[in-house]
C-alpha cells in the first residue's frame, strides 16, 4: 500500500512536470523548452558570436550572394542583381534583428496581443483604429505584381524567411524564449507596415489637440496666439537672405474665458489619437527632431561638399537603425542605415552623393466632426445634406493561444477612419493613409548619381514630410521639404477640427512638387534644417502647419555655419555635439537682468551668471537654469492648468521668448496671487530664486558636486521590452534641451544616428549610433557603438568596392546560394 502511494505520488509529479514543461503557466514560459540547455534559453549564449563562415540556401536567389561582416558587424552585401542584394539585406537584418522586426510589425498591425497577451490590447486598439495596417495592405494590393517594387518586397521577405528556416534553436532570439513564443513568418507587405509606422511616429502631430486644450482653458483667440501658424522667431530652412534669426514683434492675446465644448472635443481627439503628452516643464519642447546641414565647395576647406545629419528619435536597444552596405557592380553601391524591415537604405551615401533627412513636421492630418444619424449606433453620416453609409471594418484581437480577446467595428467615412467618444464622432484624413511612394523614392535615391537625380527620385514621396538634404561629388547641395501638402479650403489651416457635414471642408488636392519649400546651391554656400518652419511667411504664407518647434537648434547651426571660415568633416562632427544654446542665451540674460536690483544681483543671479551657457558634461550651472525654466513656465502658463492643477499644454519656448518682450502682458500675472499683478521681472526673479532652493533641496549645495550636469541629465537607451539588464542607462552626454544634440526629459530620445560624409575624390563617411548591430543582448556588438556615441566620436564607415578589400577587416562571412544549388 505504501509503495502504491509512492508510485501515485511520482505519477502525479511526472504529470505536473510534463505539464509545466510543455505549457506556459501564468507569466512563466513552458519550463521544458525554456530550461532545455541544448535548445532553450541557455543555448542563446552559443549564438552571441557570429560563426566565421556559413553557407545557407535561399529560395528565389539567382546567383550567389556574399555577405562579409566588418569589425563593427556591418554586413557588406555583394550580389549580382539588386533583387539578390535585397534578399541578402533581408537575411542579414533578420539574422541580427529578428525579434525587433516582429515587435515593430505587430505594433503597427495592432497584433501585439498575439505576442505579449492582453496587456497590449489598448495599444493594439489604437493602432487598428488609425488603420495603418489596413492602409498598408491596401497599398500592397495596388502594387503591380510584375513591378520592381513588388520584386524587392518579395526578395526581402525571402531573405528574412530564409534566415528563419536556417537558424538553429540557439539562434532564436532570447526574447522569444522569455515570452515562450515562436517567430512569425515574414510577409512582403510588412515592409509597408513599417513605412506606415514611420509616418505615424513622425507625422502624428498634436496641433489640434493642443489648440483645443488651450481653447478649452483660455479661449480660441488666446489659443491661436499660444500655438500660432507662424513661428515668432524666423530662421527658415529655405534661406530668406537675412543674416540672422528674426524675432517677430508679436503681442500675445491675454487669457480669455474657457470654452467647455472644446474640452469635449479634446476628449474625443485624445480617445482617437492618444492623450496629449503632459510636459513637466523641463523643456516644453519635442525632441523627436533632427538636424542636417551641408556646405558646398566654397565653404569647405578641401573644396568639396560635406554633409552632416543626425535624426533624433527614441532610443532603443536594439536601435531603430541597422547599418548595411549593398554592392551590385554597375548598379548599386550604397552604404547607410536602414529601418529593419524595409528593403532600402534610408539615410546614407553612395559613390556619388550623400543624403539625410529631418522631419518637416508639416500638418498632414485633419480631423472632421461628423454628424451621424444615431449617436449610439451610427450607420451613416451627413454630407452636403445627404446621409452616406459608413464603411465598416471588423477587427478581432487574439491572445497568444488564438482565443478572441475583443472585437471592434471601426467605421470609415470617405475621409478615413472614425472614432467616437462622448457623443463626438471624429473622422481622420491623413496623408499617411493615402497611398505610398516612399519605397520607390528610396530605391531611386539609393541609386541616384547626382543631386538632380536624387530630387527627381524623391518626387514620389508621400509621408511623412521630410526635409531631404543631398550633396554630390560635383559640389552641388540641395534641400527640399518633400511629401504631400494638402490643399485645404480657402482661408483655413488644418490646426482646428473641421465641420464634416460639408464637402467644402475637404482637401482639394495636393500642392505640386515644384512649390515645395527648398533650395539648390544657395549663395550663402550652405543649407541647414532642424525641424523649424520651412519658409519665411513673408516670402510664402501658404499654410504648411502650425506650432512649429522653436528654432533654437536652427539658430545655433546657422550661427556656426555663418562664421567666416572653411569647414572640415571634423568641424561638422564636433558641431553635432555642440553644447551651445541660443535658448540659454535668451533666457539667462532675462533672468540676470530681472535678478539684479539696486543692491546688485541676488545670490541666485550670481550663481547663474557663473554659467557659460554651455551644456558640457561637467558644467555645474545648467541644472539651476533648467529648474528656473521649469519654474518660469509653471508661473507663466498657470492659466493652462486643469482643475487638478495639471498643466495640459505648454507653448513652445519661442513663445515664451516672445513674451519676454512684453513685460506687462496679462500672461505674467500669477492667478494664485489675486491681490498682486505680477510683471515679467517679478516672475523671472521669483522663478530663479525658487529654482535655487529647489536645486539645493534636490542636488545639495552647489559646492558639493551634485549640480554636475552629467548627474542631472543623462541619456537612457532601453531594451525594446524595457528589460533593464539589456538596457544602457545613465549615460553622461553633452547637450541639453534644444541644443544640437538634445538631452531632455527622460533621456529616452536624441541623436539616433550621426553621420558626416565628405564628397571628395573618394566618398568618405563617418557615423555612429547609440547601440550596436546585433540584437543579441549577449553579443559584443549589442552595445558596441554606445561608448563612442557618448563621447561624441564618429567612426570611419568602411566602404569597400570588392570582397577582396575586406580581407583584413572581415570578421565573419555568410554565403547565400540559390536553393537549386543545394
Amino acid at each position: 500500500m505504501k509503495a502504491t502511494a509512492a508510485t501515485w505520488g511520482n505519477a502525479a509529479l511526472l504529470v505536473a512536470g510534463l505539464y509545466a514543461g510543455a505549457r506556459p503557466i501564468g507569466p512563466l514560459p513552458a519550463l521544458g523548452t525554456f530550461l532545455d540547455p541544448a535548445g532553450g534559453i541557455w543555448a542563446s549564449v552559443r549564438s552571441a558570436t557570429l560563426p566565421e563562415d556559413v553557407t545557407h540556401y535561399v529560395p528565389g536567389l539567382d546567383t550567389e550572394v556574399r555577405i562579409v561582416y566588418d569589425d563593427w558587424r556591418v554586413p557588406h552585401i555583394f550580389a549580382e542583381s539588386v533583387e539578390d542584394a535585397v534578399r541578402g539585406l533581408g537575411y542579414a537584418v533578420a539574422r541580427d534583428r529578428l525579434f525587433q522586426l516582429e515587435l515593430q510589425t505587430r505594433a503597427t498591425a495592432g497584433t501585439l496581443t498575439e505576442l505579449v497577451g492582453e496587456v497590449a490590447l489598448d495599444v493594439d486598439r489604437r493602432s487598428r483604429r488609425l488603420a495603418l495596417a489596413w492602409a498598408a495592405e491596401r497599398d500592397f494590393s495596388r502594387i503591380e505584381p510584375e513591378s520592381e517594387i513588388a520584386a524587392y518586397l518579395q526578395a526581402y521577405s525571402d531573405g528574412v524567411n530564409a534566415w528563419m528556416a536556417e537558424m538553429s534553436p540557439a539562434e532564436v532570439p532570447l526574447e522569444y524564449r522569455l515570452l515562450g513564443r515562436e517567430p512569425m513568418a515574414w510577409q512582403p507587405q510588412y515592409s509597408l507596415y513599417l513605412l506606415k509606422q514611420m509616418g505615424w511616429t513622425l507625422s502624428m502631430l498634436d496641433t489640434e489637440r493642443r489648440k483645443n486644450a488651450a481653447a478649452g482653458l483660455v479661449g480660441r483667440e488666446a489659443a491661436d496666439g499660444l500655438f500660432p501658424v507662424n513661428s515668432p522667431i524666423q530662421e527658415p530652412i529655405e534661406p530668406n537672405g537675412e543674416g540672422a534669426a528674426r524675432f517677430e514683434a508679436v503681442v500675445l492675446p491675454p487669457p480669455g474665458d474657457p470654452v467647455p465644448a472644446m474640452m469635449t472635443q479634446l476628449e474625443a481627439m485624445s480617445a482617437f489619437l492618444g492623450p496629449l503628452e503632459v510636459h513637466d516643464g523641463r523643456s516644453g519642447e519635442m525632441v523627436l527632431g533632427s538636424n542636417n546641414w551641408a556646405v558646398g565647395p566654397s565653404r569647405s576647406a578641401e573644396g568639396h561638399a560635406i554633409l552632416a545629419g543626425d535624426p533624433h528619435l527614441d532610443f532603443t536597444l536594439p536601435s531603430i537603425w541597422y547599418e548595411a552596405h549593398l554592392v551590385v557592380p554597375g548598379e548599386l553601391d550604397v552604404y547607410g542605415v536602414t529601418i529593419p524591415g524595409t528593403p532600402t537604405i534610408t539615410i546614407g551615401f553612395n559613390r556619388d552623393l550623400a543624403w539625410t533627412f529631418t522631419n518637416t513636421g508639416s500638418d498632414a492630418m485633419d480631423l472632421y466632426r461628423e454628424t451621424v444619424d444615431d449617436v449610439a449606433a451610427p450607420g451613416s453620416y451627413l454630407l452636403d445634406g445627404e446621409w452616406l453609409p459608413f464603411d465598416e471594418r471588423v477587427e478581432e484581437y487574439l491572445s497568444p493561444r488564438g482565443s478572441v480577446l475583443a472585437v471592434d467595428t471601426i467605421l470609415h467615412t470617405h475621409r478615413g477612419p472614425v472614432s467616437q467618444s462622448g457623443g463626438e464622432h471624429l473622422s481622420l484624413r491623413w496623408t499617411v493613409l493615402e497611398g505610398q511612394g516612399e519605397l520607390a523614392a528610396l530605391m531611386g535615391v539609393n541609386q541616384a548619381g547626382s543631386v538632380d537625380e536624387w530630387m527627381a527620385a524623391m518626387e514620389s514621396w508621400v509621408a511623412p514630410t521630410q526635409n531631404g538634404l543631398v550633396a554630390d561629388r560635383q559640389g552641388n547641395i540641395a534641400i527640399r521639404a518633400t511629401g504631400r501638402y494638402p490643399i485645404r479650403p480657402a482661408r483655413t489651416g488644418g490646426d482646428w477640427a473641421y465641420d464634416g457635414a460639408s464637402s467644402n471642408n475637404d482637401w482639394q488636392g495636393y500642392r505640386p512638387v515644384a512649390s515645395y519649400p527648398g533650395s539648390v546651391n544657395p549663395a550663402q554656400g550652405y543649407l541647414a534644417s532642424s525641424n523649424q518652419q520651412p519658409v519665411d511667411p513673408t516670402i510664402d504664407d501658404r499654410y504648411l502647419g502650425a506650432n512649429w518647434p522653436s528654432p533654437w537648434r536652427a539658430m545655433r547651426i546657422n550661427e556656426l555655419l555663418r562664421q567666416d571660415s572653411l569647414f572640415t568633416a571634423a568641424d561638422f562632427a564636433s558641431f553635432q555635439t555642440d553644447p551651445g544654446s541660443p535658448r540659454a542665451d535668451v533666457f539667462v540674460s532675462a533672468f540676470l537682468e530681472a535678478s539684479t536690483g539696486t543692491d546688485g544681483p541676488t545670490e541666485s543671479g550670481m550663481l547663474l551668471a557663473e554659467w557659460d551657457r554651455r551644456y558640457t558634461v561637467d558644467n555645474t550651472r545648467a541644472a539651476l537654469f533648467e529648474r528656473a525654466m521649469r519654474e518660469l513656465q509653471n508661473r507663466t502658463w498657470d492659466e493652462l492648468t486643469d482643475s487638478n492643477g495639471r498643466r495640459l499644454v505648454t507653448p513652445r519656448t519661442a513663445i515664451l521668448a516672445t513674451l519676454l518682450r512684453d513685460p506687462r502682458n496679462a500672461w505674467w500675472d500669477v492667478r494664485s496671487t489675486p491681490d498682486v499683478v505680477e510683471t515679467r521681472d517679478d516672475v523671472l526673479s521669483a522663478s530663479l530664486a525658487t529654482a535655487l532652493e529647489g536645486a539645493r533641496d534636490t542636488y545639495g549645495h552647489e559646492s558639493d558636486g551634485g549640480w554636475v550636469w552629467s548627474r542631472v541629465a543623462t541619456a537612457n537607451v532601453d531594451h525594446v521590452l524595457s528589460f533593464s539588464p539589456f538596457s544602457a542607462r545613465d549615460l553622461p552626454i553633452r547637450g541639453g534641451p534644444e541644443t544640437l544634440s538634445p538631452n531632455a526629459g527622460n533621456g529616452g530620445n536624441g541623436a539616433s544616428w550621426r553621420m558626416v560624409v565628405e564628397l571628395g575624390e573618394e566618398v568618405e563617411g563617418r557615423g555612429i549610433y547609440p547601440g550596436g548591430q546585433s540584437g543579441h543582448p549577449l553579443s559584443s556588438a549589442y552595445k558596441q557603438q554606445i561608448e563612442d556615441w557618448v563621447g561624441g566620436r564618429l567612426r570611419p564607415l568602411r566602404f569597400p568596392r570588392t570582397v577582396e578589400e575586406m580581407a583584413n577587416i572581415s570578421r565573419s562571412r555568410a554565403t547565400l546560394r540559390p536553393e537549386s544549388h543545394q
Binding site: 511520482n10 512536470g17 510534463l18 519550463l31 521544458g32 541544448a38 542563446s44 549564449v45 543582448p777
Partner: protein, 106 residues
C-alpha cells in the same frame, strides 16, 4: 557505470530531441531495471546530463552574464534559475523512472 551511460544518453537525447527525451529515457530505464533505486539513479543521471551541457555551454559564451540578466528580469536570485535547470530534469527523470519501474512490477 550505468549512471554515467544514462547521463550521456540524457544529454544526447536532449540535444537531439529536446527536453522530452529526459522522461522518455528515464521511463524506459525504469521499465528495464525495475523500481529499486531506479528513480534516484535516473534523477542523478538527468542532473549530470544537463549539467554537462550547461558546462559545455559555459565554455561557448557568456553564460554567467545571461544568468545574472535573467535573474534581474525575473526578480529572482541568479542561483534559482540554475537550481531550476538542475531540479527540473531530475524531478522528471526520477518520477518517470519510478512510474516505469512500477509498470514493470505489475
Amino acid at each position: 557505470m550505468m549512471f554515467v551511460v544514462l547521463a550521456g544518453a540524457m544529454a544526447l537525447g536532449t540535444a537531439a530531441f529536446g527536453w522530452g527525451a529526459v522522461p522518455v529515457l528515464a521511463f524506459a530505464y525504469g521499465v528495464w531495471r525495475g523500481p529499486r533505486k531506479s528513480g534516484a539513479l535516473a534523477a542523478g543521471s538527468a542532473l549530470l546530463g544537463w549539467g554537462a551541457i550547461m558546462l559545455w555551454t559555459w565554455t561557448q559564451g557568456p553564460l554567467v552574464d545571461l544568468l545574472s540578466a535573467l535573474g534581474a528580469i525575473m526578480g529572482l536570485p541568479d542561483v534559482v534559475l540554475l537550481l531550476a535547470t538542475g531540479l527540473f530534469p531530475a524531478l522528471l527523470a526520477g518520477s518517470a523512472a519510478v512510474v516505469g519501474g512500477a509498470i514493470r512490477r505489475t
